[in-house]
């Protein structure tokens, strides 16, 4: 099987949209993303001017500020062949939110749509470009099978429409036993600024999520968005639930490394 390093295969080039949350809160997710892509022969670029896609401002009702951030995000990423982000939420913003922001500005709307067409959430990109072969050969130490459960991020599934890809990847990982999460589709209660505006309510919602996670007996819970993950992690830690809370990129990277 080609690992992409063969000289006759043209290297794909993608720009990494690392997202502000990963950049500031979970850089290890960005690192894992870069390694996953490189292992598949992708040349990863990191446009240094990128900051935030504007979602936080947009969801807080700050339309002008959100628009400024959206415009610069488009300007920064549109020169690249493809854009990949380890986040369903920020990709959802780029695909759906930008349509709202620029709904009365045809020129920008076109640019936003053009960018959206070549922009992907990580699992989407991996499955569509490389299939499941990489994950399928991966496996942890022979003696250990890790039991994991998957929390689908609301924005990945409902806004961006990425539902199956993360599960396909996780199911293909040898040594990972995927158990279903009860009421997996329920929001974890993060909601961006929601968790700061209504912290008690956010905590009550994530409590239910954590109870469902605990009920699976999984050692590890996986998702595609660090917002959900940070929220779930902080609640699991508070409850003393010994569960690893990991981004999909970290799980895949870890298993691919273990394999080799």
């Amino acid at each position: 099987m080609s690992t992409g390093s063969d000289t006759d295969v043209p290297r794909r080039r993608v720009a990494l949209m690392v997202t502000c949350l990963v950049d500031q809160l979970a850089p290890e997710v960005g690192v894992a993303t870069v390694r996953l892509l490189r292992r598949r022969g992708v040349q990863v670029e990191f446009p240094q001017l990128q900051t935030c896609c504007g979602q936080a401002a947009w969801n807080s009702g700050l339309a002008e500020e959100a628009r400024a951030l959206a415009e610069r995000t488009i300007e920064i990423f549109e020169p690249y062949e493809a854009v990949v982000a380890p986040s369903g939420s920020c990709m959802g913003m780029l695909h759906h939110g930008y349509q709202q922001i620029f709904r009365d500005d045809e020129a920008w709307l076109r640019r936003a749509r053009d960018l959206a067409r070549k922009s992907f959430e990580l699992s989407q990109y991996l499955v569509h470009e490389f299939g499941l072969s990489f994950a399928a050969v991966a496996g942890v130490d022979e003696h250990a099978t890790q039991v994991a459960t998957y929390h689908p991020s609301c924005h990945a599934t409902r806004i961006l429409g990425v539902a199956d890809e993360p599960l396909q990847l996780l199911r293909a990982v040898r040594g990972l036993q995927l158990v279903p999460l009860p009421r997996a589709e329920d929001c974890c209660g993060f909601g961006g600024t929601f968790c700061a505006k209504l912290p008690e309510l956010s905590s009550a919602i994530v409590e239910t999520k954590v109870a469902h996670i605990a009920a699976t007996g999984a050692q590890c819970v996986v998702s595609t968005d660090v917002g959900c993950l940070a929220n779930i992690r902080s609640a699991c830690a508070h409850r003393g639930l010994p569960v690893e809370v990991l981004h999909l990129a970290e799980v895949l990277d870890r298993h691919e490394v273990a394999k080799s």
């Binding site: 809160l25 409902r158 929601f194």
Partner: protein, 484 residues
């Protein structure tokens, strides 16, 4: 949180709800049951998405040419002897009903379930005119006896323990009852049956009008809707201006989706399609049928492209059941007639100057579950964002919080400010997540963090951001290693 925050009212009511174990369990259990029912119905339906497409299109078609559709309805309904009235607002709607009651010398109005009647506060208007208004839907009757508001669009009494219902009935009738459903429902049936026969007026809502046939349709699971619309001599149906479809075929689309979305039933126990008052030779039915078409903010909504789509709502309650906020705190936390995501959208539209209703736009995680559950695909999550924008434009809410967010958003547009600000924020995050007297002091004086820290373990931000590690990753690539 600041005392001036828009979210404060909602927050207080939500906190109250969070402290009530029964309410939380009951609301969660019921919304889960309704969601599971809907999911089962979706699985059995096979082409549920095609049905959604059809109904979404039908509803939007009717809304797009609402004036013409209403004209056809009036024409056809009048031909069957229905008297149609138009009310610009709640006060006018109440006045029309009160006037009809006066003209009939009515003393008792038996009511079927109607959220619109709650919206226009008809019971209060009738009582003020010395007409007794009696709710005959079991849940609504309980709510009336308790002097409360419904906490769910279709299950008004979801928040109430059985024992409390028993006590209400015992007080009402001076009897001793048990907590059994059979006993409680039996008591209600005995008491209400007599009232149907005594009532001068029957007042119901209208789940949907059909323009083509000039008919008014009622969906219900209790026989009361049929009793109220046939036994009293005069039947008044309250109809939201937008609750209409053009054709019988459109109505079939509605019949498929309303019960399935609401409770998971394939059909409700009763579906009454009323074409007019009793005709000569007919034994049952009222002598007069009045339809009061109520605007009360709807035409303003029709003119607003941001929220027009919400007029397609069929009031099934699916968005309430799907909402993580509603299913955690229940309907009373919203402090409005219509709770849940649909309430958070339409309530501020029906009372545009009401700051307290405007705050409801924040009572959402924007998870999109409401949109996903909605049989007519109303993008409620996008509308909540639009409402937040309107709030920001009008300077509603916590000004300092908004100013802070604005500064942060502007800083994000300048890479070095973003990077520097991020470094400071991460340092602060590590500081407060750490041990010691100083972090504790800071936590104690930052209410939001304090609240969060009580219920979670605060995250420990990393020393270096991803962008600070990029140079290492470039070197790693050049070495051809990936850090194994």
């Amino acid at each position: 949180m600041s005392a001036h925050g828009l979210t404060d009212d909602f927050l207080q009511r939500a906190q109250h709800a969070l402290g009530q174990d029964f309410l939380r369990q009951a609301v969660r259990k019921t919304t889960d049951r309704l969601r599971d029912g809907r999911a089962q119905a979706v699985r059995e339906a096979g082409d549920f998405e095609a049905w959604r497409d059809a109904l979404s299109a039908a509803r939007r078609r009717a809304i797009a040419r609402l004036d013409a559709v209403l004209r056809v309805f009036v024409e056809r309904a009048s031909a069957h002897g229905v008297q149609v009235h138009f009310a610009a607002d709640a006060a006018e709607a109440c006045a029309i009903v009160v006037e009809l009651a006066r003209a009939k010398g009515a003393r008792l109005a038996a009511k079927g379930k109607s959220m619109l009647s709650e919206e226009i506060e008809l019971n209060q208007a009738l009582e003020a005119a010395c007409v007794e208004a009696l709710e005959t839907d079991l849940g609504e009757w309980i709510i009336q006896l308790a002097g409360e508001r419904p906490s769910h669009i279709i299950l008004p009494v979801v928040h109430k323990p059985r024992a409390e219902i028993r006590e209400l009935f015992e007080q009402h009738g001076g009897v001793t009852l048990s907590d059994e459903t059979k006993v409680l429902a039996g008591y209600a049936r005995d008491r209400l049956r007599a009232e149907f026969l005594r009532a001068d007026l029957g007042i119901t809502g209208c789940n949907m009008a059909i323009a083509e046939t000039g008919a008014v349709a009622l969906f219900s699971n209790e026989g009361n809707g049929r009793m109220v619309s046939t036994l009293p001599k005069t039947h008044i149906a309250l109809m939201g201006m937008e609750r209409i479809v053009e054709t019988r075929a459109d109505f079939v689309d509605l019949m498929r989706l309303l019960p399935r979305s609401a409770t998971g039933q394939r059909i409700t126990t009763y579906v009454n399609v009323l074409h007019g008052p009793k005709r000569t030779h007919e034994l049952d039915g009222p002598e007069e049928l009045h339809v009061v078409v109520v605007d009360a903010g709807r035409s303003q909504q029709l003119a607003d492209r941001d929220y027009r789509d919400a007029l397609a709502c069929i009031r099934c309650g699916a968005c309430l059941n799907a909402c993580p906020v509603y299913s955690t705190v229940g309907g009373h936390a919203y402090g409005t007639v219509y709770p849940g995501p649909i309430g958070a959208v339409i309530e501020p539209l029906y009372a545009r100057d009401d700051e307290r209703r405007a705050e409801l736009a924040n009572a959402s995680t924007l998870c999109g579950a409401c949109h996903e559950a909605c049989p007519v695909r109303i993008p409620l999550h996008d509308m909540l964002v639009s409402l937040r924008q309107a709030n920001a434009r009008q300077g509603r809410g916590d000004r300092s919080e908004l100013a802070l967010q604005r500064v942060a958003a502007r800083a994000m547009a300048v890479p070095f400010v973003y990077a520097g600000g991020g470094a400071v924020a991460r340092w602060f995050g590590r500081f407060v997540a750490g041990d010691g007297a100083w972090p504790r002091f800071v936590l104690q004086h930052t209410p939001v963090l304090q609240t969060m820290a009580r219920q979670r373990v605060l995250p420990q931000p990393p020393l270096r951001a991803f962008r600070d590690q990029w140079a290492d990753l470039v070197r790693e690539d050049m070495r051809g290693s990936d850090g194994r």
